[in-house]
Symmetry: none
Amino acid sequence: MIELHYRDARPVYEQVQDGLRQLLVRGAILPGERLPSVRSLATNLSINPNTIQRAYEALEREGYVYTLLGKGTFAAERSDVKDERRDALLKQYDEIARELLFLGCTWEMLSERLKEGTSDGKA
Amino acid sequence: MIELHYRDARPVYEQVQDGLRQLLVRGAILPGERLPSVRSLATNLSINPNTIQRAYEALEREGYVYTLLGKGTFAAERSDVKDERRDALLKQYDEIARELLFLGCTWEMLSERLKEGTSDGKA
Amino acid sequence: MIELHYRDARPVYEQVQDGLRQLLVRGAILPGERLPSVRSLATNLSINPNTIQRAYEALEREGYVYTLLGKGTFAAERSDVKDERRDALLKQYDEIARELLFLGCTWEMLSERLKEGTSDGKA
Amino acid sequence: MIELHYRDARPVYEQVQDGLRQLLVRGAILPGERLPSVRSLATNLSINPNTIQRAYEALEREGYVYTLLGKGTFAAERSDVKDERRDALLKQYDEIARELLFLGCTWEMLSERLKEGTSDGKA
DNA sequence: GTGGTCTAGACCACC
DNA sequence: GTGGTCTAGACCACT
Protein backbone atom coordinates (compact mmCIF):
# COMPACT_ATOMS: atom_id res chain seq x y z
CA MET A 1 0.00 0.00 0.00
CA ILE A 2 2.73 2.45 0.99
CA GLU A 3 6.44 2.16 0.34
CA LEU A 4 8.94 3.32 2.93
CA HIS A 5 12.56 4.15 2.28
CA TYR A 6 14.67 4.26 5.38
CA ARG A 7 17.63 5.70 3.53
CA ASP A 8 15.44 8.65 2.68
CA ALA A 9 16.25 12.06 4.11
CA ARG A 10 12.56 12.59 4.80
CA PRO A 11 11.26 11.40 8.14
CA VAL A 12 9.10 8.29 8.05
CA TYR A 13 5.92 9.99 9.21
CA GLU A 14 6.25 12.34 6.25
CA GLN A 15 6.57 9.46 3.84
CA VAL A 16 3.45 7.87 5.32
CA GLN A 17 1.65 11.20 5.13
CA ASP A 18 2.63 11.69 1.48
CA GLY A 19 1.75 8.12 0.57
CA LEU A 20 -1.71 8.37 2.07
CA ARG A 21 -2.33 11.79 0.54
CA GLN A 22 -1.45 10.37 -2.83
CA LEU A 23 -3.97 7.56 -2.35
CA LEU A 24 -6.60 10.09 -1.30
CA VAL A 25 -5.99 12.51 -4.14
CA ARG A 26 -5.90 9.77 -6.76
CA GLY A 27 -9.16 8.36 -5.50
CA ALA A 28 -7.74 5.07 -4.31
CA ILE A 29 -9.41 5.91 -1.03
CA LEU A 30 -12.90 7.32 -1.64
CA PRO A 31 -14.57 10.13 0.35
CA GLY A 32 -16.16 8.75 3.47
CA GLU A 33 -14.16 5.55 3.32
CA ARG A 34 -12.40 4.51 6.51
CA LEU A 35 -8.63 4.52 6.56
CA PRO A 36 -6.84 1.60 8.18
CA SER A 37 -6.61 1.92 11.94
CA VAL A 38 -3.45 3.38 13.38
CA ARG A 39 -2.42 0.09 14.94
CA SER A 40 -3.14 -2.12 11.94
CA LEU A 41 -1.24 0.14 9.56
CA ALA A 42 1.61 0.30 12.05
CA THR A 43 2.02 -3.47 12.24
CA ASN A 44 1.53 -3.64 8.48
CA LEU A 45 4.44 -1.28 7.84
CA SER A 46 6.40 -2.55 10.83
CA ILE A 47 6.75 0.88 12.37
CA ASN A 48 5.70 2.58 15.58
CA PRO A 49 1.99 3.47 15.91
CA ASN A 50 3.04 6.93 17.07
CA THR A 51 4.51 7.55 13.65
CA ILE A 52 1.23 6.64 11.95
CA GLN A 53 -0.66 8.76 14.42
CA ARG A 54 1.49 11.74 13.55
CA ALA A 55 0.84 11.29 9.83
CA TYR A 56 -2.92 11.05 10.42
CA GLU A 57 -2.85 14.22 12.48
CA ALA A 58 -1.01 16.05 9.72
CA LEU A 59 -3.53 14.87 7.12
CA GLU A 60 -6.40 16.03 9.30
CA ARG A 61 -4.74 19.41 9.63
CA GLU A 62 -4.54 19.57 5.85
CA GLY A 63 -8.22 18.73 5.55
CA TYR A 64 -7.90 15.41 3.75
CA VAL A 65 -9.30 13.26 6.53
CA TYR A 66 -11.39 13.66 9.66
CA THR A 67 -11.42 11.60 12.81
CA LEU A 68 -14.37 10.30 14.78
CA LEU A 69 -13.24 9.44 18.26
CA GLY A 70 -13.42 5.73 18.84
CA LYS A 71 -14.66 5.06 15.32
CA GLY A 72 -11.62 5.73 13.17
CA THR A 73 -10.25 8.09 10.55
CA PHE A 74 -12.15 8.76 7.32
CA ALA A 75 -11.46 10.36 3.96
CA ALA A 76 -12.91 13.88 3.78
CA GLU A 77 -16.24 14.17 1.96
CA ARG A 78 -15.91 17.07 -0.41
CA SER A 79 -13.19 16.94 -2.97
CA ASP A 80 -13.95 20.61 -3.62
CA VAL A 81 -11.82 21.22 -0.58
CA LYS A 82 -8.88 20.29 -2.76
CA ASP A 83 -9.47 23.10 -5.24
CA GLU A 84 -9.92 25.74 -2.58
CA ARG A 85 -6.89 24.47 -0.73
CA ARG A 86 -4.87 24.48 -3.94
CA ASP A 87 -5.78 28.08 -4.71
CA ALA A 88 -4.91 29.18 -1.20
CA LEU A 89 -1.59 27.33 -1.38
CA LEU A 90 -0.75 28.80 -4.78
CA LYS A 91 -1.24 32.28 -3.38
CA GLN A 92 1.22 31.52 -0.58
CA TYR A 93 3.54 29.87 -3.08
CA ASP A 94 3.70 32.98 -5.24
CA GLU A 95 4.32 35.25 -2.30
CA ILE A 96 7.14 33.15 -0.88
CA ALA A 97 8.73 32.61 -4.27
CA ARG A 98 8.64 36.33 -4.94
CA GLU A 99 10.61 37.10 -1.81
CA LEU A 100 13.05 34.22 -2.33
CA LEU A 101 13.89 35.53 -5.78
CA PHE A 102 14.95 38.79 -4.16
CA LEU A 103 17.02 37.00 -1.57
CA GLY A 104 19.39 35.63 -4.15
CA CYS A 105 17.58 32.46 -5.13
CA THR A 106 17.31 31.92 -8.88
CA TRP A 107 14.20 30.38 -10.34
CA GLU A 108 16.36 27.57 -11.65
CA MET A 109 17.44 26.74 -8.12
CA LEU A 110 13.85 26.68 -6.90
CA SER A 111 12.85 24.62 -9.91
CA GLU A 112 15.48 22.08 -8.94
CA ARG A 113 14.01 21.71 -5.48
CA LEU A 114 10.63 20.99 -7.05
CA LYS A 115 11.99 18.24 -9.28
CA GLU A 116 13.75 16.61 -6.35
CA GLY A 117 10.53 16.57 -4.41
CA THR A 118 8.68 14.92 -7.30
CA SER A 119 10.85 11.84 -7.58
CA ASP A 120 9.30 10.06 -4.60
CA GLY A 121 12.03 11.53 -2.47
CA LYS A 122 14.45 8.70 -3.10
CA ALA A 123 17.26 11.23 -3.45
CA MET B 1 15.05 55.41 -6.57
CA ILE B 2 12.16 53.08 -7.33
CA GLU B 3 10.46 52.56 -10.64
CA LEU B 4 6.72 52.06 -10.86
CA HIS B 5 4.85 50.47 -13.74
CA TYR B 6 1.19 51.21 -13.73
CA ARG B 7 0.48 48.76 -16.53
CA ASP B 8 1.94 46.05 -14.34
CA ALA B 9 -0.34 43.36 -12.95
CA ARG B 10 1.32 43.74 -9.57
CA PRO B 11 -0.24 46.29 -7.25
CA VAL B 12 1.70 49.46 -6.64
CA TYR B 13 2.30 48.81 -2.95
CA GLU B 14 3.92 45.51 -3.88
CA GLN B 15 6.22 47.18 -6.37
CA VAL B 16 7.28 49.64 -3.71
CA GLN B 17 7.78 46.82 -1.22
CA ASP B 18 9.89 44.85 -3.69
CA GLY B 19 11.90 47.88 -4.71
CA LEU B 20 12.77 48.77 -1.14
CA ARG B 21 13.54 45.20 -0.21
CA GLN B 22 15.96 45.02 -3.08
CA LEU B 23 17.72 48.18 -1.88
CA LEU B 24 17.88 46.75 1.62
CA VAL B 25 19.16 43.34 0.62
CA ARG B 26 21.76 44.77 -1.72
CA GLY B 27 23.02 47.11 0.96
CA ALA B 28 22.04 50.30 -0.85
CA ILE B 29 20.31 51.15 2.40
CA LEU B 30 22.56 50.32 5.33
CA PRO B 31 21.46 48.77 8.65
CA GLY B 32 20.20 51.46 10.99
CA GLU B 33 19.79 53.97 8.19
CA ARG B 34 16.50 55.87 8.04
CA LEU B 35 14.22 55.21 5.11
CA PRO B 36 12.48 58.16 3.48
CA SER B 37 9.40 59.25 5.39
CA VAL B 38 6.06 57.91 4.27
CA ARG B 39 4.93 61.29 3.03
CA SER B 40 8.13 62.30 1.28
CA LEU B 41 8.40 59.04 -0.61
CA ALA B 42 4.74 59.34 -1.51
CA THR B 43 5.15 62.77 -3.11
CA ASN B 44 8.40 61.59 -4.64
CA LEU B 45 6.68 58.72 -6.42
CA SER B 46 3.49 60.70 -6.96
CA ILE B 47 1.32 58.20 -5.15
CA ASN B 48 -0.80 58.24 -2.04
CA PRO B 49 0.90 58.03 1.37
CA ASN B 50 -1.42 55.19 2.31
CA THR B 51 0.12 53.07 -0.39
CA ILE B 52 3.63 53.69 0.93
CA GLN B 53 2.42 52.99 4.45
CA ARG B 54 1.20 49.61 3.35
CA ALA B 55 4.55 48.72 1.82
CA TYR B 56 6.42 49.81 4.96
CA GLU B 57 4.05 47.78 7.09
CA ALA B 58 4.72 44.65 5.04
CA LEU B 59 8.49 45.16 5.20
CA GLU B 60 8.31 45.48 8.96
CA ARG B 61 6.36 42.22 9.17
CA GLU B 62 9.04 40.59 7.06
CA GLY B 63 11.72 41.84 9.42
CA TYR B 64 13.62 44.08 7.01
CA VAL B 65 12.83 47.33 8.78
CA TYR B 66 11.61 48.51 12.15
CA THR B 67 9.76 51.67 12.94
CA LEU B 68 9.89 54.13 15.80
CA LEU B 69 6.74 56.13 16.37
CA GLY B 70 7.28 59.75 15.53
CA LYS B 71 10.88 59.15 14.50
CA GLY B 72 10.74 57.19 11.29
CA THR B 73 11.33 53.82 9.68
CA PHE B 74 14.81 52.27 9.80
CA ALA B 75 16.66 49.42 8.12
CA ALA B 76 16.97 46.42 10.45
CA GLU B 77 20.21 46.31 12.44
CA ARG B 78 21.18 42.71 12.20
CA SER B 79 23.52 42.21 9.29
CA ASP B 80 22.14 38.94 8.10
CA VAL B 81 18.39 38.95 8.39
CA LYS B 82 18.74 37.80 4.82
CA ASP B 83 20.17 34.36 5.49
CA GLU B 84 17.93 33.69 8.43
CA ARG B 85 14.86 34.71 6.50
CA ARG B 86 15.89 32.81 3.38
CA ASP B 87 16.27 29.56 5.28
CA ALA B 88 12.90 29.95 6.93
CA LEU B 89 11.25 30.75 3.59
CA LEU B 90 12.85 27.78 1.86
CA LYS B 91 11.41 25.47 4.49
CA GLN B 92 7.95 26.86 3.91
CA TYR B 93 8.52 26.69 0.17
CA ASP B 94 9.33 22.98 0.30
CA GLU B 95 6.32 22.17 2.43
CA ILE B 96 3.89 24.07 0.24
CA ALA B 97 5.40 22.75 -2.98
CA ARG B 98 5.18 19.19 -1.70
CA GLU B 99 1.48 19.50 -1.01
CA LEU B 100 0.80 21.30 -4.29
CA LEU B 101 2.48 18.50 -6.23
CA PHE B 102 0.09 16.03 -4.64
CA LEU B 103 -2.86 18.28 -5.36
CA GLY B 104 -2.36 17.76 -9.04
CA CYS B 105 0.07 20.55 -9.83
CA THR B 106 2.99 19.46 -11.97
CA TRP B 107 6.42 20.79 -11.21
CA GLU B 108 6.49 22.21 -14.72
CA MET B 109 3.45 24.31 -13.88
CA LEU B 110 5.02 25.62 -10.69
CA SER B 111 8.27 26.25 -12.52
CA GLU B 112 6.33 28.30 -15.05
CA ARG B 113 4.94 30.50 -12.29
CA LEU B 114 8.46 31.13 -11.05
CA LYS B 115 9.70 32.27 -14.43
CA GLU B 116 6.77 34.64 -14.82
CA GLY B 117 7.51 36.12 -11.43
CA THR B 118 11.12 36.72 -12.42
CA SER B 119 10.32 39.06 -15.26
CA ASP B 120 7.37 41.29 -14.70
CA GLY B 121 3.75 40.47 -14.10
CA LYS B 122 2.25 38.13 -11.60
CA ALA B 123 -0.43 37.04 -14.06
CA MET C 1 -21.84 39.63 16.76
CA ILE C 2 -18.85 41.82 17.57
CA GLU C 3 -18.66 44.67 20.03
CA LEU C 4 -16.65 47.79 19.29
CA HIS C 5 -15.38 50.26 21.82
CA TYR C 6 -14.36 53.52 20.31
CA ARG C 7 -12.86 54.79 23.55
CA ASP C 8 -10.55 51.77 23.50
CA ALA C 9 -6.86 52.31 22.88
CA ARG C 10 -6.87 49.40 20.43
CA PRO C 11 -7.58 50.32 16.84
CA VAL C 12 -10.92 49.27 15.45
CA TYR C 13 -9.50 46.87 12.87
CA GLU C 14 -7.74 45.03 15.70
CA GLN C 15 -10.93 44.74 17.69
CA VAL C 16 -12.67 43.27 14.65
CA GLN C 17 -9.74 40.91 14.08
CA ASP C 18 -9.80 39.75 17.70
CA GLY C 19 -13.56 39.38 17.73
CA LEU C 20 -13.60 37.22 14.63
CA ARG C 21 -10.64 35.16 15.79
CA GLN C 22 -12.47 34.42 19.00
CA LEU C 23 -15.54 33.26 17.07
CA LEU C 24 -13.32 31.09 14.89
CA VAL C 25 -11.34 29.55 17.72
CA ARG C 26 -14.41 28.85 19.81
CA GLY C 27 -16.12 27.18 16.89
CA ALA C 28 -18.93 29.71 16.59
CA ILE C 29 -17.87 29.89 12.95
CA LEU C 30 -17.27 26.39 11.63
CA PRO C 31 -14.46 25.32 9.28
CA GLY C 32 -15.41 26.02 5.69
CA GLU C 33 -18.21 28.35 6.67
CA ARG C 34 -18.38 31.72 4.91
CA LEU C 35 -17.71 34.82 6.92
CA PRO C 36 -19.92 37.86 6.35
CA SER C 37 -18.86 39.84 3.29
CA VAL C 38 -16.60 42.81 3.80
CA ARG C 39 -19.32 45.26 2.89
CA SER C 40 -22.13 43.66 4.87
CA LEU C 41 -20.10 43.43 8.05
CA ALA C 42 -19.00 47.02 7.52
CA THR C 43 -22.55 48.36 7.35
CA ASN C 44 -23.49 46.04 10.20
CA LEU C 45 -20.85 47.53 12.49
CA SER C 46 -21.26 51.00 10.99
CA ILE C 47 -17.64 51.29 10.01
CA ASN C 48 -15.76 51.62 6.75
CA PRO C 49 -15.31 48.52 4.55
CA ASN C 50 -11.58 49.25 4.38
CA THR C 51 -11.31 48.65 8.10
CA ILE C 52 -12.99 45.26 7.80
CA GLN C 53 -10.78 44.44 4.84
CA ARG C 54 -7.73 45.04 6.96
CA ALA C 55 -8.96 42.71 9.68
CA TYR C 56 -9.73 39.96 7.14
CA GLU C 57 -6.30 40.39 5.60
CA ALA C 58 -4.62 39.92 8.97
CA LEU C 59 -6.69 36.85 9.78
CA GLU C 60 -5.72 35.31 6.46
CA ARG C 61 -2.04 35.95 7.22
CA GLU C 62 -2.52 34.25 10.56
CA GLY C 63 -4.04 31.23 8.86
CA TYR C 64 -7.51 31.39 10.39
CA VAL C 65 -9.35 32.11 7.14
CA TYR C 66 -8.76 31.88 3.42
CA THR C 67 -10.34 33.92 0.72
CA LEU C 68 -11.59 33.13 -2.77
CA LEU C 69 -11.67 36.05 -5.15
CA GLY C 70 -15.20 36.99 -5.98
CA LYS C 71 -16.63 34.31 -3.72
CA GLY C 72 -15.91 35.38 -0.20
CA THR C 73 -13.84 34.72 2.90
CA PHE C 74 -14.07 31.32 4.60
CA ALA C 75 -13.02 29.77 7.91
CA ALA C 76 -9.91 27.59 7.48
CA GLU C 77 -10.65 23.92 6.93
CA ARG C 78 -8.14 22.25 9.17
CA SER C 79 -9.68 21.60 12.54
CA ASP C 80 -6.64 22.39 14.60
CA VAL C 81 -4.88 25.38 13.17
CA LYS C 82 -5.19 26.43 16.74
CA ASP C 83 -2.75 23.97 18.23
CA GLU C 84 -0.25 24.31 15.42
CA ARG C 85 -0.36 28.08 15.59
CA ARG C 86 -0.20 28.15 19.38
CA ASP C 87 2.95 26.05 19.45
CA ALA C 88 4.66 28.22 16.86
CA LEU C 89 3.67 31.38 18.72
CA LEU C 90 4.90 30.03 22.05
CA LYS C 91 8.30 29.38 20.53
CA GLN C 92 8.51 32.95 19.28
CA TYR C 93 7.20 34.15 22.62
CA ASP C 94 9.98 32.43 24.53
CA GLU C 95 12.70 33.74 22.23
CA ILE C 96 11.50 37.32 22.38
CA ALA C 97 10.92 37.19 26.11
CA ARG C 98 14.40 35.82 26.69
CA GLU C 99 16.00 38.68 24.84
CA LEU C 100 13.76 41.27 26.48
CA LEU C 101 14.72 40.02 29.92
CA PHE C 102 18.35 40.61 29.05
CA LEU C 103 17.56 44.03 27.66
CA GLY C 104 16.62 45.19 31.11
CA CYS C 105 12.95 44.28 31.18
CA THR C 106 11.89 42.55 34.37
CA TRP C 107 9.49 39.66 34.15
CA GLU C 108 7.16 41.62 36.39
CA MET C 109 7.04 44.37 33.78
CA LEU C 110 6.23 41.92 31.00
CA SER C 111 3.70 40.20 33.20
CA GLU C 112 2.05 43.55 33.74
CA ARG C 113 1.70 44.05 29.99
CA LEU C 114 -0.03 40.68 29.75
CA LYS C 115 -2.60 41.52 32.39
CA GLU C 116 -3.39 44.81 30.68
CA GLY C 117 -3.91 42.98 27.43
CA THR C 118 -6.31 40.57 29.10
CA SER C 119 -8.82 43.18 30.07
CA ASP C 120 -9.19 46.02 27.64
CA GLY C 121 -6.71 48.57 26.48
CA LYS C 122 -3.26 48.03 25.06
CA ALA C 123 -2.00 51.17 26.77
CA MET D 1 33.15 34.34 33.10
CA ILE D 2 30.24 32.22 31.87
CA GLU D 3 28.61 29.32 33.64
CA LEU D 4 27.40 26.32 31.70
CA HIS D 5 24.88 23.79 32.91
CA TYR D 6 24.86 20.60 30.94
CA ARG D 7 21.75 19.32 32.64
CA ASP D 8 19.99 22.37 31.24
CA ALA D 9 17.27 21.91 28.65
CA ARG D 10 18.70 24.84 26.70
CA PRO D 11 21.41 24.08 24.16
CA VAL D 12 24.93 25.11 25.12
CA TYR D 13 25.31 27.73 22.40
CA GLU D 14 22.22 29.45 23.74
CA GLN D 15 23.68 29.52 27.23
CA VAL D 16 26.87 31.04 25.87
CA GLN D 17 24.84 33.55 23.87
CA ASP D 18 22.78 34.54 26.91
CA GLY D 19 25.83 34.75 29.14
CA LEU D 20 27.67 37.04 26.78
CA ARG D 21 24.61 39.18 26.17
CA GLN D 22 24.24 39.60 29.88
CA LEU D 23 27.86 40.78 30.14
CA LEU D 24 27.29 43.18 27.27
CA VAL D 25 24.05 44.61 28.58
CA ARG D 26 25.36 45.01 32.10
CA GLY D 27 28.41 46.81 30.82
CA ALA D 28 30.93 44.20 31.89
CA ILE D 29 32.09 44.34 28.30
CA LEU D 30 32.25 47.92 27.07
CA PRO D 31 31.30 49.16 23.58
CA GLY D 32 34.23 48.70 21.21
CA GLU D 33 35.95 46.23 23.49
CA ARG D 34 37.12 42.99 21.92
CA LEU D 35 35.44 39.79 22.96
CA PRO D 36 37.62 36.75 23.60
CA SER D 37 38.52 34.91 20.43
CA VAL D 38 36.40 31.94 19.44
CA ARG D 39 39.19 29.49 20.12
CA SER D 40 40.34 30.90 23.44
CA LEU D 41 36.80 31.00 24.83
CA ALA D 42 36.24 27.49 23.55
CA THR D 43 39.25 26.07 25.38
CA ASN D 44 38.33 28.16 28.41
CA LEU D 45 34.87 26.62 28.61
CA SER D 46 36.06 23.24 27.38
CA ILE D 47 33.60 23.13 24.54
CA ASN D 48 33.73 23.00 20.76
CA PRO D 49 34.76 26.20 18.94
CA ASN D 50 31.80 25.69 16.59
CA THR D 51 29.49 26.21 19.53
CA ILE D 52 31.12 29.52 20.39
CA GLN D 53 31.02 30.51 16.76
CA ARG D 54 27.30 29.90 16.66
CA ALA D 55 26.74 32.06 19.74
CA TYR D 56 28.80 34.89 18.25
CA GLU D 57 26.82 34.73 15.04
CA ALA D 58 23.57 34.93 16.93
CA LEU D 59 24.78 37.95 18.89
CA GLU D 60 25.82 39.67 15.69
CA ARG D 61 22.39 39.03 14.24
CA GLU D 62 20.91 40.65 17.34
CA GLY D 63 23.14 43.66 16.91
CA TYR D 64 25.15 43.35 20.12
CA VAL D 65 28.48 42.68 18.48
CA TYR D 66 30.15 43.12 15.11
CA THR D 67 32.93 41.13 13.53
CA LEU D 68 36.00 42.38 11.70
CA LEU D 69 37.37 39.57 9.60
CA GLY D 70 40.73 38.47 10.92
CA LYS D 71 40.65 40.97 13.76
CA GLY D 72 38.02 39.62 16.07
CA THR D 73 34.56 40.26 17.46
CA PHE D 74 33.78 43.55 19.21
CA ALA D 75 30.99 44.92 21.39
CA ALA D 76 28.67 47.16 19.35
CA GLU D 77 29.30 50.89 19.69
CA ARG D 78 25.97 52.46 20.29
CA SER D 79 24.03 51.33 23.30
CA ASP D 80 21.09 53.22 21.80
CA VAL D 81 20.65 50.18 19.64
CA LYS D 82 19.39 48.46 22.76
CA ASP D 83 16.51 50.86 23.27
CA GLU D 84 15.36 50.70 19.68
CA ARG D 85 15.66 46.95 19.67
CA ARG D 86 13.76 46.75 22.93
CA ASP D 87 10.90 48.85 21.57
CA ALA D 88 10.68 46.77 18.43
CA LEU D 89 10.70 43.57 20.47
CA LEU D 90 8.03 44.86 22.84
CA LYS D 91 5.77 45.54 19.88
CA GLN D 92 6.18 41.96 18.70
CA TYR D 93 5.76 40.73 22.27
CA ASP D 94 2.41 42.46 22.63
CA GLU D 95 1.14 41.17 19.31
CA ILE D 96 2.09 37.57 20.00
CA ALA D 97 0.80 37.67 23.55
CA ARG D 98 -2.49 39.08 22.33
CA GLU D 99 -3.06 36.17 19.98
CA LEU D 100 -1.89 33.59 22.53
CA LEU D 101 -4.44 34.86 25.02
CA PHE D 102 -7.15 34.10 22.47
CA LEU D 103 -5.75 30.66 21.84
CA GLY D 104 -6.50 29.48 25.32
CA CYS D 105 -3.35 30.61 27.07
CA THR D 106 -3.94 32.43 30.33
CA TRP D 107 -1.71 35.31 31.30
CA GLU D 108 -0.76 33.35 34.40
CA MET D 109 0.57 30.57 32.17
CA LEU D 110 2.61 33.00 30.11
CA SER D 111 3.84 34.69 33.26
CA GLU D 112 5.08 31.33 34.48
CA ARG D 113 7.15 30.87 31.33
CA LEU D 114 8.75 34.24 31.95
CA LYS D 115 9.74 33.39 35.51
CA GLU D 116 11.25 30.09 34.42
CA GLY D 117 13.33 31.89 31.84
CA THR D 118 14.61 34.35 34.43
CA SER D 119 16.10 31.82 36.82
CA ASP D 120 19.22 31.24 34.76
CA GLY D 121 17.44 28.36 33.03
CA LYS D 122 18.43 25.81 35.64
CA ALA D 123 14.95 24.31 35.49
C1' DG E 1 8.04 66.69 11.78
C1' DT E 2 6.98 61.37 12.11
C1' DG E 3 4.02 57.00 11.71
C1' DG E 4 -0.91 55.03 12.49
C1' DT E 5 -5.77 54.87 11.85
C1' DC E 6 -10.07 55.78 9.69
C1' DT E 7 -13.45 57.51 6.31
C1' DA E 8 -15.70 58.21 1.86
C1' DG E 9 -15.85 57.02 -2.38
C1' DA E 10 -13.90 55.32 -6.67
C1' DC E 11 -12.53 51.56 -9.96
C1' DC E 12 -11.04 46.90 -11.20
C1' DA E 13 -11.38 41.82 -11.85
C1' DC E 14 -13.64 37.70 -10.84
C1' DC E 15 -17.95 34.78 -10.22
C1' DG F 1 -22.62 39.90 -5.87
C1' DT F 2 -17.48 39.28 -3.99
C1' DG F 3 -12.64 40.75 -2.57
C1' DG F 4 -8.57 44.02 -3.80
C1' DT F 5 -6.44 48.34 -4.69
C1' DC F 6 -5.96 53.22 -4.64
C1' DT F 7 -6.94 58.10 -3.67
C1' DA F 8 -7.90 62.28 -0.98
C1' DG F 9 -8.13 64.06 3.04
C1' DA F 10 -8.91 63.99 7.93
C1' DC F 11 -7.38 63.31 12.87
C1' DC F 12 -4.50 61.39 16.55
C1' DA F 13 -0.27 60.64 19.36
C1' DC F 14 4.48 60.88 19.74
C1' DT F 15 9.21 63.42 19.15
